[in-house]
Symmetry: C2
Subunit: 446 residues, 2 copies
């Protein structure tokens, strides 16, 4: 009897799984029946922009954390699909740092050309997953949002590809209840224009803070103050920027910091990260982890050791993204197809332990890049995911970090060579700082 | 064996149910074991203010739709608990239109004095409810938010008291994705100060639009434009206000209306109502209704006819609020205690049909008030909920509508007599329009 696989989510990770099985099918393999459940009305996951925040039209949490004018914050060459190059999609070389609509078009393109859309049930939110030891099957219960009905189906495998940048981690600070302006988490940030002329406080010192701060300044914010917990980002910021230590309290519109300094602000954006959140999973199947390069309990970062018929994709902290999801999906596919036997649980746990021991020694950013490069290399050695120049990508990450240190507002003007085709991205005719239009059309004539 | 009741939610409706059983217990009755599940960290439901919007610190949808500077939009005398007067709580008469913190204090006070807090499990979100025809029991599965664990328990009765003003109904309009400013639903509105100096568009013509529009203007908004679907509110608005027909599209920051007029705006607030939303209930137990004075399928507006061990409180559109929830809770209690037998299903359905026939003839606001007055009178006749002067409350609603027509910015300065004690609320020393401080402390010295 044909096996059935439920893929939860049609973002880059879920689509990677669809594509992985399709590659096997085109090569003549018998593949299982795949049902991909997606609560949005289109594929693309996080890369679909919406003006909505909080709850959507069906009362479901809005998945999107992306905002207008978001540009890739790393070279596109570092995330290029090995089996579908940017050049193949666009028909010519494009610049190395595209805005969100360009990357979305690229993600969609690979799926449309593979004709995989029919495997996705849109407007369908996963409500719960149960596993029966008796039958060895999962029961997946979903809410069909358009008619508001619950439906349950059985599956042999479940692939969790719901992402981990959708559920805000938003700590409380004294005085926020009385702050006379907008307080929001980065998840709900949509349009920098709203903050033109304002003095902004961004709590956090990672990618969200860095990027939302620079976007807002680009679109007219008066000043940007960052508050860090452990260390400042330390970039060579424009004059209107400052970095301060931890926010201790807010009084009226005055923010107070742990070093005794203060700053009057008009709006507060909590760039305090995201939670891994799987409210549809029972406790015994739930991955519990902070955002780290190697979560516990997942063999090869993918298989839930206690029940490896449950697969998690993309749950790592990420330098590598699309190509890593692809390699993970190929590995999951090969196990499902019986091409790769899984070791016994003890051996899987030992493998995880070995990686965690290596990870414990990782300290610097360069070591983090090397660690995840080694992880992706390991995945690729296990599967036939199309090879690409991993050493070049590693080198790109190192160059990228250097570029950011050199100019946080200028690093997006650099060009990189594709690890798939070798083509070097053309230098755009306008700088990122000057370019206010983030549309696909504008990017292609730029 | 003692019966067990699950009460879902510790807002005014859920607390009414706790109080109803407590009243019976104090009078010597044997009462069932009650477990009230509340996802917030305190009781009060909607009346707890939070700066949070969207998802809370546990990734659960934020319940609160209330905002800073929210004042009661009806006389407090119309919602007074018959068994716990405002005068008893505050020790003296208070003005007829209190701000949110004053009403919250009143709601909390009745529960604290009854020592019912121990019946509530805070930080506990209901995940799912199942009913077994075999055992005749409900299994309620909750997520304990602090340790992120699922727990299931069995109950004989389930009381759904989760409210219906928490899940936004937010239709899409063309151009919102490109609007260069904030777009939000009223559910996420928190602080009018954010909109000082701005030109606002509020889509909708009911209580949210009316109240958020006037609050924003009071705290410095430059102009307020309402967009209505069927009819303008028609109040005698200040000069900075205008009412326009349905929004058709937004281009840049220009809103276009169906009559061909247009208006440039800085922010758009969708005051487009709420959905009844019970994602934790299976289809066969889910109330499906618009916001109306008499939902279908509920006997006496309370008992789910197909399975009357499932009770819904407060699911009606509301002129009456706290006192109606109390009367509903007393009725539910008396059925649970076996004091009141339920009719056979056909008779329950006939009773609902009779009310729906009456409701179908209701047209004007006055007829709506009379209809709900008749409903509350019916509930009170069936139970021993402490009587109060229902005719006086009805008259107050009529006067209140008249007051609003006379002055939408001045109606909150009027005084009304208590239907419980007869005391007339004192005239406050500052008008609502002048009073910018909505704190309990300020209100009590005012």
């Amino acid at each position: 009897m044909t096996q059935r696989i439920a893929v939860l989510g049609a973002g880059p990770s879920g689509l990677a799984q669809l594509r992985a099985f399709d590659a096997a099918r085109r090569a003549g393999a018998d593949v299982p029946e795949i049902v991909c459940f997606e609560k949005q009305s289109d594929l693309g996951g996080m890369w679909n922009y919406t003006w909505r925040t909080g709850l959507d039209q069906h009362g479901e949490p809005v998945h999107a954390s992306m905002y207008r004018y978001l540009w890739s914050n790393g070279p596109k060459e570092c995330l290029e699909f090995a089996d579908y190059s940017f050049e193949e999609h666009f028909g010519r070389p494009i610049a190395s740092y595209p805005p969100r609509p360009v990357l979305r078009d690229y993600i969609m393109g690979r799926i449309e050309r593979s004709d995989l859309r029919h495997q996705i049930r849109f407007n369908t939110a996963v409500h719960s997953v149960e596993y029966s030891r008796e039958t060895g099957k999962f029961t997946v219960t979903v809410r069909e949002l358009k008619d508001d009905r619950m439906v349950s189906e059985e599956f042999d495998w479940v692939v969790v590809a719901t992402g981990h940048f959708s559920t805000p981690n938003a700590p409380a600070f004294e005085g926020l209840s009385q702050f006379p302006g907008r307080v929001l988490h980065a998840h709900d940030f949509r349009d920098a224009c709203e903050f033109a002329g304002k003095d902004l406080l961004l709590v956090g010192s990672s990618y969200s803070a860095e990027d939302i701060g620079t976007q807002c300044y680009k679109y007219g914010a008066k000043s940007v103050t960052f508050s860090y917990r452990s260390a400042p980002m330390g970039y060579d910021w424009p004059e209107a920027f400052s970095e301060r230590p931890l926010l201790t309290r807010v009084e009226g519109n005055t923010a107070h910091f742990v070093d005794g300094s203060q700053q009057d602000v008009d709006a507060i954006i909590l760039c305090t990260g995201y939670q891994h959140h799987f409210p549809f999973l029972p406790d015994e199947l739930t991955l519990r982890t902070r955002n780290r390069l190697y979560p516990q309990d997942l063999y090869k970062g993918v298989f839930w050791i206690d029940n490896p018929k449950l697969v998690y994709l993309g749950m790592q902290d990420q330098y590598y993204t699309f190509n890593m999801f692809d390699a993970q999906a190929f590995l999951a596919r090969d196990v499902v197809l019986g091409r790769l036997p899984l070791p016994i649980p003890e051996a899987m746990a030992d493998d995880v332990d070995a990686w965690l021991t290596m990870y414990a020694a990782v300290d610097t950013v360069m070591e983090q890049i090397d660690f995840q490069t080694a992880y992706v290399r390991d995945l690729m050695a296990l599967t036939d995911y199309q090879s690409f120049d991993l050493d070049l990508v590693r080198q790109h990450f190192v160059t990228w970090e250097h570029d950011k240190d050199e100019s946080i507002t200028g690093y997006r003007d650099k060009s990189f060579a594709s690890p798939c085709t070798g083509t070097v991205g053309p230098v755009p005719s306008s700088t990122w700082w000057e370019e206010l239009d983030d549309s696909l059309a504008r990017f292609l004539q730029r």
